[in-house]
């Protein structure tokens, strides 16, 4: 079942078109920076974008900071929202369950497929950005942390790997919310919109002083905390909170998805 879902994911053109669209923005930004040599003014651009004119190898992190707030979550919400609701809308869900396949196993297979999509999307963005950054942008490695202290290439590499892993976990939180909505409705668009509504509400509430008490629990609160991995000493505070929070979102929404899907009537 899992192999079938993974094969379906990688052979479906929609997967690669979505990833190509996510990739297009950072690639366009890299081309514009290379052509104009004009970086963002301090305090105005995404994280690391000001540094890539000197050191193009940092562009994967800048690309991550660009796609993480909007493009990547939209793609993940669409993919995860389609997982169950898409089968229901096309009328294949009940046929899938007619086979000797448990509902939990089907949900697990769909989850693995969504996780694979998140991993592929993040890795493709990072690799493309590395290649584009190395070819088009600065070639004088800064080798310094955000705090200005020296970092070896090995330190930079493992911190980058941690940042990518952190982004994957953040997107798994989105995937869990969308997967839950996907078990609630037969409309994949409705499921994706439900997840995106949660994220938009979270982003809005983060700008309000009146919602300060709620903010530590909002799903987007710690997404960009991966920048703290590049401070010296590393500031673990928000990173650890982000990890715990996303794990909780995954546990709660996957649990809810499983509880709902295993008990609902399948009519389509």
């Amino acid at each position: 079942m899992i192999a079938v879902e993974l094969r379906k994911l990688v052979t479906r053109p929609r997967t690669w078109i979505t990833i190509a669209l996510i990739d297009a923005l950072p690639t366009l930004v890299a081309v514009l920076l290379a052509l104009t040599d004009i970086g963002p003014r301090p305090g105005t651009g995404p994280a690391f974008l000001s540094a890539v004119l000197s050191d193009g190898t940092l562009f994967p992190l800048a690309a991550l900071a660009m796609v993480l707030p909007l493009f990547l979550p939209v793609a993940v919400a669409l993919t995860a929202g389609d997982a169950i609701a898409g089968e229901a809308q096309s009328g294949t869900l009940r046929y899938l369950l007619v086979r000797p396949v448990g509902r939990a196993r089907l949900l697990l297979a769909k989850l693995v497929s969504v996780v694979a999509f998140v991993l592929i999307a993040v890795v493709v963005v990072a690799v493309t950005a590395y290649v584009v950054g190395a070819l088009l942008l600065g070639d004088a490695p800064l080798s310094s942390s955000v705090s200005g202290t020296a970092l070896t290439q090995q330190e930079l590499a493992w911190r980058t790997a941690l940042a990518l892993g952190y982004a994957v976990l953040a997107m798994l939180g989105v995937a869990s919310i969308a997967l839950f909505f996907s078990t609630v409705t037969d409309s994949p668009q409705g499921a994706a919109m439900g997840a995106l509504a949660v994220l938009i509400a979270s982003t809005l509430l983060l700008t309000l002083d009146a919602s300060q008490a709620l903010q530590p629990y909002l799903p987007t609160r710690y997404w960009l905390a991966f920048v703290d991995l590049f401070r010296d000493p590393i500031l673990w505070r928000d990173v650890l909170r982000g990890v715990v929070q996303q794990v909780l979102y995954v546990v709660v929404f996957l649990g809810a998805a499983w509880a709902n899907f295993s008990t609902r009537d399948i009519t389509s």
Binding site: V146, G148, V251
Partner: protein, 359 residues
């Protein structure tokens, strides 16, 4: 599973809701302990917020950001002459490192390192928002009759003792200041400044994490990254430049306020008042004064008088910029004193400031 998640979510809220143990230390003893806490080494994470919307010009943008927004700070404080404060932003950080009388500023996004000598006159900067620095500043000249105990509150995991300062001066615009401190060391952990009738503090700063272990020497040292040049500025900001170059000496007393104790020697910039009732008079070159004047003219709530002076009141902070007063200079008066006090000061400066030859 869901129940376990709910328990996990609720646990921190429940722990925070537990009442702190009140150490029941008399207010006068807390005051002395806070005033003497300057030798305590510490490190930690601080969040501050301000609601004072000041006009933004190139030379005052950092002050406007500090007093009118949220700041996330990391600090390693070994002593008053060996410390580091990182001001964190979503996309980078601006660090101040001070050692051997020199302050180095690292701006990641601008890839810029600037070193300046210690300046007895300067505008507020991120390190001034640290609870120990702000707490000691407001309590420096406080008298025992002005303070009262507040009970206890948990700050950064410590059962902190509270002290309320109500300034006695009639010119004061600060209604009260609440300072929460470690009862063992006297180190201020949280400071909230309130103007009259304010339900929420105008400025608030608190530790969220704190250690009183001496920070490592390594962490307060800075070596510029390869390829980044180090600039040396002999003045730290527009106030430092005024003190050094303006051809004038501010009066010793102004608007009924005496010179600030432990403040400046006589120079172009005057510092007056006591504790939280403070006023500064800064002679600004017109190339600094004019953008500020234009910005004030566009700022809601600012008042432009017929004589050309501009004034603004934001929370407890009052500001008055005179028209050109002498030799292409205007006086910028600002402080936590009433508007009539600033007007009186402006009138006296027009009569009593002492002109000197350029240094």
């Amino acid at each position: 599973m869901v129940a376990a998640a709910v328990v996990l979510l609720a646990a921190p809220i429940a722990v925070r809701a537990l009442p702190a143990d009140d150490p029941e230390v008399p207010a006068a003893r807390l005051l002395v302990a806070a005033q003497a806490s300057g030798t305590v080494a510490y490190s930690g994470y601080v969040e501050s917020s301000g609601t004072l919307q000041l006009p933004v010009t190139d030379q005052f943008s950092e002050v406007a950001g500090l007093l009118g927004g949220r700041s996330r700070l990391r600090v390693w404080w070994r002593s008053a002459d060996d410390w580091r404060v990182d001001s964190l932003t979503p996309a980078g950080e601006r660090d101040l490192l001070h050692s051997h009388g020199l302050t180095t500023e690292w701006d990641y996004e601008a890839e810029r390192v600037t070193t300046t000598p210690r300046s007895e006159v300067r505008l507020p900067r991120s390190s001034d928002l640290l609870p120990p620095e702000l707490g000691r500043l407001v309590l420096a000249d406080a008298r025992p009759g002005e303070v009262s105990a507040l009970g206890a509150e948990t700050v950064a995991g410590i059962d902190a003792a509270g002290l309320r300062l109500v300034p006695a001066e009639r010119q004061a615009t600060v209604d009260h200041v609440d300072v929460w401190m470690d009862p063992d060391t006297g180190l201020p952990l949280q400071v909230s400044v309130f103007s009259a009738d304010a339900a929420a503090p105008d400025i608030s700063t608190r530790f969220l994490e704190l250690s009183t272990t001496m920070p490592s020497e390594r962490v307060t040292r800075f070596v510029a990254p390869p390829g980044v040049s180090v600039d040396f500025d002999d003045v730290v900001d527009v106030a430092g430049a005024a003190q050094r170059y303006a051809p004038v000496v501010a009066p010793r007393r102004l608007a009924g306020l005496g010179p600030r104790r432990g403040g400046l020697g006589r120079g172009a910039v005057g510092e007056y008042g006591r504790g939280v009732t403070a006023m500064a008079a800064i002679p600004l070159w017109e190339n600094s004064a004019e953008p500020l004047r234009e910005q004030l003219a566009r700022t809601p709530g600012a008042v432009v008088e017929a004589d050309g002076s501009s004034s603004l009141s934001v929370g407890p902070l009052e500001l008055l910029l005179t028209p050109e007063a002498f030799d292409e200079h205007s006086w910028l008066l600002l402080g936590t004193v009433t508007h009539p006090t600033l007007e009186r000061a402006a009138a006296q400066l027009a009569r009593r400031a002492l002109m000197v030859a350029y240094p």
